[in-house]
Amino acid sequence: MIVDVNAYLGHFAFRRLRHNTAAALLALMDAKKIDRAVVSSAGAITYRNTQAGNEEVAEEVRGHSDRLIPFAVINPFYAGWQDDLQICHEEFGMTGLRLYPKWHNYQLSSPCSRELVDATTERGMVISIPIRVEDNRQRSWLLNVPDVPLEETVELVKAHPRARFILLNGIGYTGCPLGRKDNGLPSNYAIELSRLSAVLANELGQLITNLGAERVMFGTGMPFNYPDPALVKLEVLDASEADKEKIRSQNAITWLRL
């Protein structure tokens, strides 16, 4: 079984996405033998009111709950986020969040953000943070959104030891405490592999050595990305089949209580 913790539905403001409806994404998943995927709204990355994107995703995944696992996008500085969180969790059955602090222009260390993390944790939901949405060098002339500095996520995981975080679309973890052995951080975060190297520098292998295979999860970033590069990483990864199985699905099943 393969579980992708990094997938999306809907439109992105700056580039046409294909395979971005539930039906089309499921067809792509079938073609790539990906069984289940965590999805959130691509539109909510740039919507002012992210709840509109959450509603679109809830509608889109209806009837596909066996394969598509919806996550909410919440901006803790937007009016009514507490209501949105409740609706997403209780009505839409969303079991996690995706946060975009740079796109939504807030600090992960801000009181509002901390309040959202605490409220999400109280609900037993997972918080995933895409470190980037797209390569900054291809950005639109309209904006300049930096990646989330990994140092800010270090402080976040330290400040919320009971919360559970999945870091998406990141790279360079071994250059900061997040990816180092015996780093003194709570083991409350997992790292998704879509941008990690699996050969040459082999950051993926280093993370397995340093943190354990239990802390690495499979993800593709589809339909922003071709799913194949992530699948290729798993194929060439120098790891035991047991460890690969953890990365492929078992860790996500445990964390997401699938």
């Binding site: 294909r18 639109s140 941008r195």
Partner: protein, 313 residues
Amino acid sequence: MTILQTTLDSPQSQVRVSRRMLLRSSAAVVLGGIALPSARGVAVGQSAPVMSSGPQPKGKVIDCHAHLNHHSRSTWEADDRKLIEAADKLGIDQLCCSTLTPHWPATLDGFRECNQWTADGMRRFPGRVLGYCYVNPGYGREALEEIRRCVEEREFIGIKLYNEYTCTEPVVFPIVELAIELGVPILHHASHSHYFVEDQPHMSDGGHLAELARRYPEAMLICAHISGGGDWEWTIKALRHAPNVLLDTSGSVTDEGMVDTAAAVVGVDRLVFGCDSSMTAGVGKIRGANLSTQDKEKILGGNMMRLLRRRKS
């Protein structure tokens, strides 16, 4: 990993076995089930003809954009070996490599030294590493002499130009004219961002390469890493009407639809597979593209082979 260690550290007989195993178990899978011929590029340690002459087996997988490591890097030798190991794992037969200076603009001694190391790499990994001669066009006659020496005496397969000059500047023209004379391609660093890239003020983009291609329609130009971070949709559209510019698919960006869009706009005959050190990204993009096996074979190596066969010396 056992197989890789064997590939690099064992006698040739074991090398051949290992490589066959890899090709059966890895490449056919990794490259999306594309049938790879049995007569592959030569494994590490074997002597072999370089790409400059003679017929080449159909269906080779050629990374058109790779780099060997500068020797100021303490781990350069191990890192070069890792590149070949990665190519083994991913079913890549040959890598077209340049060695770049760590600082730009490159000095005369700097690029000569790099080209010497590239030549050394071709000897260390015969048949696997093909060399691009890297020069700074600002050195005029010396740059031209270096290219001629590398291509005619050292069997380099092409020229690598970086960001010292925008490719439409007249100082670059003699390089292009020599490339035409020798019948070798130029791989040109390029990117297009919608902001000024301060650390690369002379960056070329697809538009510049299209302009150069119009000036020299007989030149064989390769626009480097169309998924190397800039706006790849812009680059592809800028190159639509430049038939003598090929687009190198390398780069770390794995945006869904990139290869498909390039194929639709410029045609598969103008796409060449590359990684530029983003190995799984490079292979994965081609595997993910919704193209026929025949079209993928062209991109993976057929188109590059076609360019290399046009060599005149």
